[in-house]
Every structure is written in C-alpha cells, then in structure tokens.
Assembly symmetry: C2
Homo-oligomer: 253 residues x 2
DNA sequence: TAAGATTTGTTCGTATGTATC
DNA sequence: GGATACATACGAACAAATCTT
C-alpha cells in the first residue's frame, strides 16, 4: 500500500512533484474523503519543510489531476475533491490527442459495449430516467434539411447515448461509453460536412432509439441488446463516409 | 477549434490555470509536435505578462497532465511530450478511486472486449510478438503451491493480457483492456488471499492462453475469439470468490 | 578534470485579492 | 464597513543540474 509498483526507474523528480506525492500519501494514510480539508499553505510549509512556492506548485499538480479543489478566503483552503467524470474524460482525451484513432476504431468498441449496456439497463431504470431518454430520442421529429441541422441532430443523438452511459450501474462500462460519445461529439462539432444528410439512415436511427426506450421500459434485455446492435450498425454506416481524421484537440476543462 | 465547447459555466479560474490554457492554445495554434521546444521561463514571463512563480505553476499543471516534460541545464527547457499510456492509465485510475467498481463490473467489460481484441489480432502479429506471448503463456508450468505463488502467477497471467493490449491495432480497444489489466494487477498485488489456489481452474486458464497463441499464429480469428471467451469465463470464476472491494489507491507515477 | 554558460529549481519577503464574519 | 483568514501573485536572489569547451 505504499504506492510504488514501479521498480525505481529513477527519474529525477522535482521537489514539487515529490511533495505532491507526499501529500497524496498523507491523504490516503488518513483516509480523507471528498470534502475533507487539507492543511493550509502555512501548515504545509511546516509539514513538508519546503517554501510556499513549492507547496503551491504541488497543489497545482494535484488540482490538475482533479484530486483537490481550492477556495480562497476565510474557511477556504484546499479540500479533497473527487475526480469528476468530465475531468477524467478530458484527461484521457489528451492521451488520444497523440494517438491515431479512427472512427472505425471507436465503432469497434461501441459495437461491443453499447448492446451490453442496453441489455444491463433493461428494467433497471426509473420512470423519470426512461421519460428523459424518450424525450431525447423523440427530439427532431423532422429529418434535417441542412448540413448544419444534421450536425445538431447527430450531437443530440450522441447526447442520448451519453445519458444512457450516465445511468449505467457499471461505472467502468458507463465511463468508456460516455467517453466515446464525447469524442464523437467533438468530432461532429468540429468537422466540415461534405456529405449530404442521409434521410433513410437517419430515420432508422431515430426509430431505433425510440424502440430501445420501449424495450428498456418493458424490461426486455434481449430485445434492448439487439435493437442497440442494429443501431450501432446503422450509426457506423453513417460515419463511415466521413474522413477518419485523428483526434487533434487538447483538453478543455 | 478554440477549445471551448463548455457553455461558459464561469468558475473563477486561478491565473496559473488560465496561463496553462493559454500555453496549450499557443502550442495547438502552432501545431507543435512531440519533442518541440516551448519558450523558456523568461520568455513565458514576457509572453503572458506574469511572474515566474505563475509560469512555473502553469508548467506543473501541464506536466501533471503529461503534456510537457521539462529538463534543466543548457539545451534544457520544456518540451511537448506525448502523454504516455502509463500516465493516462494512472490519471484514469484516480477517477475510479472514487467510484464503486467491483470485479464483476470489470469482467462485464472484459468479456465484451477481450474476445474482440483476440479476433482482431489473428494473423496480424509478427513472429517475434507471437513468440513473446507464447513465452509469457508458458511461464509457470507447475501449479502454484502457495498463496504467494498463486498471486505471482495471476500477475503473470495479467501481463499476458496487457501485452496483448499493447499489440492492438485499435488504440482505444488496447487502452481499455490494458487499463483493466492494470487495475486487476493492483488488486491482486495488494489483496490478502484467503482462498486456496484452484488447480483445475488455473490449469485451464494456462491452457487457454497457449491455445490462444496457437490460434493467433494460425490466423484463425473465430477460434481466437472463442478461446478468449472461454478464458474470460474461467477467469471470472476464479475472481468471483474474492471480495469485491473498491479501488482505493491514488495514482503512482 | 575543471571552469563557465544556460536553464530550471527553490526560497523569501511583501503586497494584493477574496470571501466570511 | 471593518477585521480576519485565507489563497494569490510578484520580484529578486540564490541553488542545482547539465551541457560545452
């Protein structure tokens, strides 16, 4: 439990980095939870025997990782702050900024995971959740008349999947699916559209989502799975025409 | 392309955070690539009209995200550094530190993804890669005689899967599988073993891995998929007995 | 080996900003 | 509005690492 599975491949770590590690250890040892207060700057200076500047750099490191939040003023200071899903997605997006990730790659994973999520959600959603999903699915009853409108509808469709991911009982499954929805959304928002909207495919996709909500409401896991599988196949077809350009964006949160 | 898809939910951002964002923008605008040099501290101070301390805090933020690396001395400075897979895994592990993630959750995803990876790798690996995998699979020909030994073998088995993930042509698929292998490894290393080794299950698992390499060598994707599916079922059975305790570790790199 | 140059690393003192009472 | 308790930011000095000669 000492937090060092690495075989000491001695890189020279700067003092702020070491102090950040010590603070993490300090927090873990005391089993501090979200919202618990850390020592203030002055106390940190004493605790770790470093200057204010070094403490501040260490805090920025922890803050960047989403592990602490800081407030100024009386009663202020630094607090343990649970890493938000949004921050985790952003941090991970930075990694894929440097990878060659194609739309086909994303769909290989989506096709494997989205049906699984759909099946595991059947009969486990509240009426309010189901209504929300249904509202998302039923938006945009008219087919898109412009490329811009088609883009909006695509983003809305991805929002449906992102919401579904939020409802996942399995946090890992939910995270991966939510992450893919985010990447595809960015890709959609920032892409140029050459391709004219494909009305038939769009109509089918919309119908799939509505059918999916119906299956979830009925608690029919097998049907939810198969509807989602069809939906993925159709969605992939829609994306397939588009250039498979890399993700070249930095994080933004 | 301006890096702001967020609807301006204006939180007070400290100046180092803002400077870090400006630097990111500066880098993206100039399309700097891995290894390219950033302005040095003195130039940053001039560029962004802030003090040295603020520049340094901004740099620590970028460094924590893995986006830059810094060296001292002549010819030193800060450089664009591609986010390593290991760092991405660590940052993501921080997120799951705060989530209730069970072994069953991980296996739900493994069962969906590992067979897919196996199938997609058939006939696409070099002889050297296949030999390496085979060597990993053939380690520990003897069944474990102690709980400690069983732990080691389990870690070795996970290393096989991690290596397979490294070879993935699909970076997203590879990352997710590698991440799960890492979490399970941590879980194995830091767990107390009450359960006696199960020889039959272990033998079957070892056989599966060897069979998998054979299928990959033969380029038989369908067989690779089904062998991996069996392997996952067996592995889940082995893990099932263990307590589903949460991931409670901070990142360590 | 040693000296010098270059760049980041670290400290300290002081002043300012901000939220609470 | 004023007092208080924090973080925030600046600037100047000095230390350490590392490359070149």
């Amino acid at each position: 439990m000492d937090g060092s599975s690495k075989p000491a491949g001695r890189t020279r770590r700067s003092r702020p980095v070491r102090v950040a590690e010590e603070i993490k250890q300090w927090v873990v040892e005391r089993d501090l939870r979200q919202g618990d207060k850390l020592p203030n700057e002055a106390e940190m200076i004493g605790l770790f025997a470093v200057s204010k500047g070094t403490v501040r750099e260490a805090m920025r490191i922890l803050e960047a990782q989403g592990l602490i939040v800081t407030r100024t003023g009386p009663g202020g200071g630094s607090f343990v702050g649970e890493v938000s899903a949004e921050r985790a997605r952003s941090l991970l997006a930075n990694y894929f900024y440097f990878q060659h990730l194609s739309v086909a790659d994303i769909y290989q994973v989506r096709k494997a995971l989205e049906p699984e999520l759909a099946a595991s959600l059947a009969g486990r959603l509240t009426a309010a959740q189901l209504d929300e999903l249904q509202a998302l699915a039923e938006r945009h009853p008219e087919p898109a008349r412009s490329a811009e409108e088609e883009k909006e509808q695509h983003v809305a469709s991805l929002a449906f999947h992102a919401r579904l991911a939020d409802f996942a009982g399995n946090p890992l499954l939910g995270f991966v699916i939510g992450f893919m929805a985010r990447i595809l959304t960015d890709l959609t928002v920032y892409r140029r559209l050459y391709d004219p909207p494909n009305r038939a495919l769009w109509e089918r996709g919309r119908h799939h989502q509505i059918e999916l909500v119906r299956a979830l409401r009925a608690g029919d896991g097998a049907r939810a799975r198969s509807v989602m599988a069809s939906h993925m196949a159709g969605a992939e077809e829609m994306m397939a025409a588009q250039e498979a350009r890399l993700m070249r964006r930095f994080m933004e949160d």
